[in-house]
């Protein structure tokens, strides 16, 4: 028994230092994915670096090839036509 204290004796809840420090998953503007990408690009699958990621790389490569090779053929045709003399 004893007198019940009017003021609570346990210390009040702390106000400072309560926010948790940024964990790895919440780093500023996204977390570091470089180690994962390093694993992907260092796989021994024999693929050259420009095709290493598979489907998206192949798509871009084929589009570029289509444009450049198709364009070169178009260019040669256009130059052939342009070199024809104009018949008055």
């Amino acid at each position: 028994q004893g007198l019940k204290p009017l003021v609570p004796t346990e210390s009040p809840a702390p106000i400072f230092g309560t926010s948790k420090p940024p964990s790895e998953a919440e780093a500023f503007l996204g977390k570091n994915k470089v180690p994962d990408l390093q694993k992907v690009f260092q796989r021994s699958d024999g693929l050259p670096v420009h095709l290493k990621r598979g489907v998206p790389d192949r798509l871009l490569y084929r589009t570029t090839m289509a444009l450049t090779i198709g364009g070169t053929i178009y260019c040669l045709v256009a130059l052939y036509i342009a070199s024809q003399p104009k018949n008055k």
């Binding site: 994915k33 260092q42 670096v49 490569y61 450049t68 364009g71 342009a82």
Partner: protein, 261 residues
């Protein structure tokens, strides 16, 4: 598995050099077709394929360095030499246009009224927007140096802020210069004054756009943790290029804008 006994980078076979050459062919012949036959299709194909090749070639360099670790100190030294030589070649490129300007402006012909600026030309006030543009580029030189030091001190937040500010200043310069071009009382067709002014400042503006794009790519790579405090050559190359662009502007400002007004 065989390992190399040297510190150089033997690259994987790549299609980008030959596709890049083809893209250059399409762009140049496309320009001809557009000028003489009024058809833009070849030119458009050329510009798109050039952009695709640049994107993929540089993407592959990032993969080879950051993800595959091929950029040893030896390789980095070679890249440094390469960037220095490239910037030097660009300096000579601009030297030619400055030569043209001084050729016409130091001894103005009777056709121009024997004076510079020629009769009938109202030059831009160098104390107006051009002075603001000078301040913007000088400030961007400070912010890019701030970004560099932040990277070396592993201060991620400040590095991102400083580099973002640099990119914004670069775009601000371009926007102001575009407005100046639109509002200018003279055009490229206005004799040798117009030619020297717009060709010199025009190529400079193109280099500002290239430099801002390079810095923007560096900003994206910085956010994605590609740079380390000791190894961030891509950023250094962009910063060198940006300082070069700044110096060219200072020469343009002092000669064409100020002395030439």
């Amino acid at each position: 598995m065989a390992h190399q006994a040297h510190s150089y980078h033997m690259v994987d076979p790549s299609p980008w050099p030959i596709f890049g050459a083809a893209a250059a062919l399409l762009t140049t012949s496309g320009l001809t077709m557009w000028f003489h036959y009024n058809t833009p299709y070849l030119l458009i194909m050329g510009l798109i394929s050039t952009a695709l090749v640049m994107l993929q070639w540089w993407r592959d360099i990032v993969r080879e360095s950051t993800f595959q670790g091929h950029h040893t100190p030896t390789v980095q030294k070679g890249l440094r030499y390469g960037m220095v030589l490239f910037i030097t070649s660009e300096a000579f490129f601009f030297l030619g246009f400055f030569w043209a300007f001084f050729h016409s402006s130091l001894a103005p012909t009777p056709e121009l009224g024997g004076q510079w600026p020629p009769v009938g030309i109202t030059p831009l006030n160098p104390m107006d927007v051009p002075l603001l543009n000078t301040a913007i580029l000088l400030a961007s030189g400070v912010t890019v140096t701030w970004a560099h030091h932040s990277i070396m001190e592993a201060n991620r937040k400040q590095a991102i802020q400083a580099l973002a500010l640099t990119v914004l200043l670069g775009f601000y310069f371009t926007a102001l210069q575009a407005m100046e071009y639109y509002e200018a009382p003279f055009s490229i067709a206005d004799g040798v004054y117009g030619s020297t002014f717009f060709v010199a400042t025009g190529f400079h503006g193109l280099h500002v756009i290239i430099g801002s794009t390079f810095l923007l790519v560096c900003l994206l790579r910085l956010i994605k943790y590609h740079f380390t405090p000791k190894h961030h050559f891509g950023f250094e190359a962009a910063a060198w290029y940006w300082h070069f662009v700044d110096v060219v502007w200072l020469f343009l400002y002092m000669t064409i804008y100020w002395w030439g007004s």
